[in-house]
């Protein structure tokens, strides 16, 4: 037990929490933009997976992390546009469209990976120049002696790669865009009552296209993080359901940026703890099955959706195609 609770373990668990939460945070913000505009987005998983593949492949070929990031974002935006074309322009079913993107991404990343690199679906391992590597924040040494805050800043906050900080900045930025800008106001309105937005002379389609494209950018960064920052190559199915966890976290956060961030951190913490608890017996409880902790995000989300812990109310117009001429 001692080894579980000493300061070093706590700090390193929190550090791991931040690392596994990063793709969740980015995808949850992506889902938030899309769903607040009235477009259900279960394709976070597929966009992130495609972006991860694109960045892994591009980094291997060009050796540049930045080109890889750009390519991943473009790939993910193209899938967003496909989603938009299906459910904004052609009024197709949003869930079906999202599912199609997920299934397509799952198959195509492996097929292309094997065809191009012949490594069983992996992309070649990357040198550190082609990746986003961890770095220490400036001035961190000078506050290291402050009790509590110093070690916390040094081992938890500092020493990550750039994309972790991008994810952390994405949250206040999302909050600011959604709640403090003209675009954000229109975005929230179009998710609640598109007819009113249309009557005010604003294009519903344009707004929704913009929102799904922002979602594409964020999923692109998340995929890049997985393939060339957290890991040193793309591996088949490497998203492993994290897109769905992010969707759950966004719902858990009731479609709001800061609560969604907290949900992501909680789910990330559960993940980090589940690795640490493997084979450890807790006093009074015994060994907690890893699978139980892994399933907890999904169970909690279902319980929340059932209205047993507060009420999660989705944007009113979500999932309904907008027909201008009724």
């Amino acid at each position: 037990m001692d080894s579980l609770l000493n300061a070093q373990t706590v700090l390193s668990t929190l550090d791991a929490t931040l690392r596994v939460s990063t793709p969740l945070i980015l995808c949850a913000m992506a889902g938030l933009f899309s769903e607040r505009s009235g477009i259900i987005d279960i394709s976070l998983e597929g966009k992130m997976l495609s972006a991860a593949f694109a960045s892994g492949a591009l980094a291997a070929v060009t050796g540049s992390a930045w080109i890889a990031l750009a390519g991943a974002i473009i790939t993910s935006i193209l899938l967003s546009l496909l989603h938009g074309f299906a459910c904004i322009t052609n009024r197709g079913d949003q869930v079906v469209s999202g599912l199609a993107i997920n299934v397509l991404a799952s198959g195509l990343t492996i097929v292309l990976g094997i065809a191009w690199f012949s490594q069983g679906g992996q992309t070649p391992a990357l040198a550190s120049e082609a990746r986003f590597m961890p770095f220490e924040l400036p001035l961190i040494e000078s506050i290291a002696h402050i009790p509590f805050i110093g070690p916390f800043m040094q081992s938890v906050i500092s020493g990550h790669n750039l994309l972790v900080y991008v994810a952390l900045l994405a949250v206040p930025l999302t909050w600011w865009i959604v709640y403090k800008t003209r675009f954000g106001l229109q975005l929230r309105a179009v998710g609640e009552n598109p007819l009113a937005v249309d009557t005010a002379g604003i294009s519903v389609s344009q707004l929704r296209y913009k929102s799904v494209m922002i979602a594409g950018i964020l999923c692109g960064i998340a995929g890049t993080y997985l393939a060339i920052a957290q890991n040193a190559a793309f591996a088949r199915e490497m998203t492993a359901g994290q897109g769905y966890i992010a969707l759950a976290a966004m719902i858990f956060g009731k479609w709001r940026p800061v609560p969604a961030l907290l949900a992501c951190l909680m789910f990330g913490f559960l993940d980090a703890v589940s690795i640490r608890l493997q084979g450890v017996a807790l006093p009074g409880i015994g060994e907690v099955p890893v699978q139980l902790i892994q399933a907890l995000p999904y169970v909690l989300t279902v319980v929340l959706l059932a209205g047993f812990i507060g009420k999660a109310v989705a944007p009113k117009a979500i999932g309904v195609p907008f027909v201008k001429e009724r």
């Binding site: 259900i40 052609n90 197709g92 997920n102 198959g107 769905y244 999904y298 959706l305």
Partner: protein
């Protein structure tokens, strides 16, 4: 001008548009194969030979088809009540647990004539149970069934890993699976059944659950279109307000329909566990639940269409295995990509071609006699 309220003749709506959609999906699949550097025409030839060229191929094709009929019907019946059951995968997985628990308890004690029906019922029951919770939450707590069924897929997966690794595992075994069930619980293989009639075919996993799948198609067709329950189900799917006005209780429809849907998905476990593996193993559902969505969309939620779509996916799965063998650059996952394209074109983009087809139809339709039915405003 909106074209969505102009009526087209049935053959265009039911045959032409769906076929064009599938053609588009297959065209893009061909493009992918071409981009990889293989010849799409050769690929199709290898796939068809692999699926139909010899009796072993046919057996495997029909064995896959069986799974897709079950999951396709499961998705389709829910669609008729305007419910989207993405949880077929989890329901089938959990149904496997039903069979596993039943047989671990009973398989030494009962004869085949009792054991097999009990196993089928257990699968249906457990499948229904795993759909019941999301259904109840949708009906009485307003939780979105798409999200809850997705979550239940993951929960089922974690639960099964835990049970197989820690509880149900064969004592002393390293791999997470149960002991083999006694032979009385096995569904007869098709090659054994046929050899009783003097027809010798190669051993394949194809078993009697294929017959069960065809029976299910008939039963679902009768249920949806020939019974009052089916009428209530379709009414609730078309318009909840109309259903309430007609004295139908939409909440009850949600529960019943989802239970039937879950039970149908659960029958995948009959094919896989009772028919082929004869023990409970990890991940025996192998994505069949998700393929069911593509099958239902392609088959337009009609049992006959589902049989045809399932057969096509059976060809893709079996032929795809052959293709991976013959063309080393192409892997089995190509089938997953094709599945995604079919969900895209037959599902999400199902209406993409319609406006153009309406325009062509208005220009070339044979008798422009009947007064226009209000389609031309705006």
């Amino acid at each position: 001008m909106s074209t969505s309220n102009i009526e087209l003749p049935a053959w265009i709506e039911i045959l032409l548009i769906p076929i064009l959609n599938i053609c588009m999906a297959l065209f893009f699949a061909g493009l992918i194969i071409f981009a990889i550097g293989e010849n799409p025409i050769d690929a199709v030839r290898i796939m068809l030979t692999g699926a139909f060229g010899y009796d072993e191929g046919v057996g495997y094709t029909l064995y896959y088809t069986t799974n897709f009929i079950f999951t396709g019907l499961a998705v389709a019946i829910a669609f008729h009540a305007r419910l989207f059951n993405i949880g077929g995968e989890g329901q089938a997985y959990f149904a496997g647990l039903g069979i596993g628990l039943t047989f671990l308890l009973l398989d030494g004690m009962l004869p085949a004539i009792l054991l097999i029906p009990i196993g089928i019922l257990a699968a249906a029951l457990f499948g229904a149970l795993w759909a019941l919770i999301p259904a109840w939450l949708q009906a009485y707590r307003g939780s979105h069934i798409v999200i809850t069924t997705i979550m239940f897929n993951f929960i089922a997966s974690s639960l099964m890993v835990y049970l197989l690794v820690n509880v149900l595992i064969k004592p002393g075994s390293m791999s997470p699976e149960t002991r083999e069930f006694s032979e009385q619980s096995w569904l007869p293989f098709m090659h054994d059944v046929l050899s009783n009639f003097g027809i010798e075919v190669t051993r394949t996993p194809l078993n009697m659950s294929f017959v069960l799948a065809l029976v299910c198609c008939l039963v679902v067709w009768i249920y949806i279109w020939k019974t009052r329950w089916g009428y209530a189900l379709r009414t609730a799917g078309q318009s909840e307000a109309a259903a309430v006005y007609a004295g139908i209780k939409p909440k009850r429809i949600i529960i019943i329909t989802m239970c039937i849907s879950g039970a149908l998905a659960g029958l995948v476990a009959v094919n896989e566990i009772m028919g082929v593996h004869h023990r409970l193993i990890l991940n025996f559902t192998a994505g069949y639940g998700f393929t069911g969505i593509a099958v239902a969309l392609m088959g337009r939620n009609h049992p006959l269409g589902i049989i045809m779509a399932s057969l096509l996916f059976g060809v893709l799965y079996q032929g795809g295995a052959e293709l991976a063998f013959e063309m080393p650059k192409i892997t089995r996952e190509m089938v997953v990509a094709i599945q995604g394209l079919i969900i895209l074109f037959s599902g999400a983009l199902a209406l993409m071609l319609r406006p153009a087809i309406v325009k062509i139809w208005l220009a070339i339709r044979p008798i422009p006699s009947t007064p226009d039915m209000g389609g031309q405003h705006g």
